[in-house]
Amino acid sequence: MATETDTQQIGTNKEDEPELDRGPFEAWAARSIKNPKRAYRAMFYTAMIFFLVTTLFPFYWLLMVALTPDGSLQNIVLAPATFDPALLLAGDLTMGTNPGAFVEIFERLPFHRYMFNSFVIATVTTVIVLVVSSLAGYVFGRLRFKGKSPLMLLVLLVSFFPPAAFFLPLNQLFNRNFAVLQPVMSDGSLYNTPYAMIIPFSALFLPLSIFILTTFYAQIPDGLEDAARIEGTTRLGALFRVIIPLSAPGVATAGVLTFIAVYNEYFFSSLMTDPGAENWAPIVEGILGYQGQYQELYNLMAAASIVGVLPVAILVVVAQEKIVSGLTAGALKE
């Protein structure tokens, strides 16, 4: 690309450049000195391509590992060692690669179940967080009362402590048997149930949503809420029928960020259940499951990783504006 435009430029600029025996690079350098904008533009494109390659190459490489057949999992750089486009002529549509790995991951382990577990946990947590943080965001964004700042600070405090500081008592709490839960849970303890993850996540990811929604709810003009109240709506009705619908982009932002955060979490996800899929273990355990079984199944680890990335990758493509605005609003609020 760059050289192409350069040679064109040399052609058009001949009149300005009397010394024609310069090499193309020297000529480019000379023009850059005369016109620094070109140099900056070149720097810009170099940087952009560098960032694109560094962020995307690992995914491409992961795909190549997943497509490599079992026997030849060695020194994969740009393509599997067995890759040969000539095989296409021989009627082999896979061209020497092994797409079967994407089927095998579901046969070796119930990977779909792990994905399902992660989905349920992330969705339920997102719903709880949205409801609870809508109430709190309304209070912090729109109401005036004593002790507002200290309470807000208390919420912020949660995101400051490491999960390890909450882990030990929660682990003991969830392993204890409660007589009340006996009819619902088999042994009355929350360990190995989705609640062992949904409850901690609902609290840990609450502060970010509260901050985002506080910002959004505070921007709704008072007149709209007053009008709804005069029409005879109850206080809660005004919140759910006027404020929340008007702040739909903010609610969507908080929801997307919470979903991604829960789906990506590692610490509690790996410690709050036993590894089996029937224990509601999320994808963390699913992917690590290929690590320990009899031998290291590198191509399956790669294939499972690609399948596991797809939901969030799609979410990022669809909701990138929301993610960007949410992160910046959440972080810059304070």
Binding site: Y40, A47, M48, F51, L52, T55, P58, L62, V65, N75, I76, V77, V132, S133, L135, A136, V139, L143, F145, K146, L151, V155, L157, V158, F160, P162, P163, A164, A165, F166, F167, L168, P169, L170, S202, A203, L206, I210, T234, R235, L236, N264, E265, Y266, F267, S270, I283, V284, L288, Y298, M301, S305, G308, V312, Q320, I323, V324, L327, T328, L332
Partner: protein
């Protein structure tokens, strides 16, 4: 009969409406403050159950010192002292000498917890500095108007959005000597030894690279928000007065972005001090120990709850110390974010 049933049903109807409307009435008549506290109840229920109660319980556990078998546990600071002096019973007392020979700054045989402390702090400082530099570069690229900017932005955000376990898998495979080419590349450059995932120093670098790859995007987005809030006319004024692009960057962009930059660095530092997943799924906690690793190890390997609690609370204290440093240095550096 039929009419009887009807009236009964109607009675039930009004009866069930009664409590509901009285609740609504009660809520309508609350003062604004009381209503505010009422709506905060669910949020504080979760936060108390999952954060405040466990936090206080962790603090309490950390003071319970288990003595020899059969003796009553005593109350005291011994858990903290044992951790720092290295006499605490964790499954590993020190890192394996063969593995750590090349790890910088750590003396051989220094207590495991001090090594974990060192690893965590070094990791936090180095990763946040690298992420800030790279994130700034990415933000400057994204700040320009160009075709396909939307897609470049997606590409840069994606590493931030993927699960930690998948990020760990990518770098585990890249540096796995048989499958990946990363180790050979680094060995050719003379940086890595023969078994990078079993060598503390090499694994530390792998974990660092993985973290920088994933979270630079987070820094980039926050810095980008700062960049886009800069008034463009300032640049025009600077151009007219003959400022070079570097001068424009130094005199306009940097000072105006600084508040956003500091907030972003603060968030990242807090996050980096909690590092666990990427270590656990690549090199393992025994090769690159972090503070969280010590907690998990004490709970699951040796069942030393007092020690685990002390390590957990110590981690919180270290993070608190870091935040205080940030606040002390930058609280009054305009912007008014705190």
């Amino acid at each position: 009969m039929a009419t009887d049933q009807d009236t009964a049903a109607m009675d039930v109807d009004t009866g069930s409406g009664g409590p509901l409307s009285s609740v609504v009435n009660w809520m309508e008549n609350l003062s604004e403050a009381a209503y505010a506290y009422l709506l905060l109840v669910p949020a504080f229920f979760f936060i108390t159950l999952v954060a405040f109660y466990p936090l206080l319980d962790t603090l309490r556990l950390s003071f319970i010192v288990e003595g020899a078998r059969g003796t009553e546990p005593t109350i005291g600071l011994e858990n903290y002292i044992d951790l720092l002096t290295g006499s605490a019973l964790i499954s590993r007392q020190v890192l394996d000498v063969g593995f750590t020979a090349a790890f910088p700054f750590i003396e051989l045989g220094s207590p495991f917890f001090r090594q974990a402390l060192f690893v965590t702090i070094t990791f936090a400082i180095v990763s946040v500095l690298l992420e800030t530099l790279i994130g700034f570069g990415q933000a400057l690229v994204l700040d320009k108007e160009f075709k396909g900017r939307r897609w470049v932005r997606v590409a840069i955000i994606i590493p931030w959005a993927i699960p930690v376990v998948i990020q760990a898998m990518i770098f585990y495979l890249l540096f796995q000597p048989t499958v990946g080419f990363g180790s050979e590349l680094m060995q050719a450059l003379g940086i890595f030894g023969s078994t990078p995932l079993a060598n503390s120093r090499d694994s530390f670098i792998i974990v660092l690279v993985a973290d920088v790859w994933k979270t630079s995007a987070f820094m980039a987005l926050l810095i980008l928000a700062g960049l886009q809030s800069v008034d463009r006319s300032l640049y025009d004024v600077a151009k007219v007065s003959g400022a070079s692009p570097w001068q424009r960057f130094k005199m306009i962009t940097l000072p105006l972005v600084l508040p956003a930059l500091i907030v972003a660095m603060l968030f990242r530092t807090m996050d980096a001090m909690r590092v666990y997943g990427i270590i656990d799924a690549t090199a393992g906690c025994s090769t690159v120990p972090s503070l969280t690793c010590v907690v998990v190890d004490a709970v699951f390997a040796t069942r030393q709850f007092g020690i685990a609690a002390a390590a957990a609370f110590f981690t919180a204290v270290v993070i608190g110390a870091f935040i205080s440093i940030y606040l002390l240095f930058f609280a009054d550096s305009d912007g008014g974010y705190f």
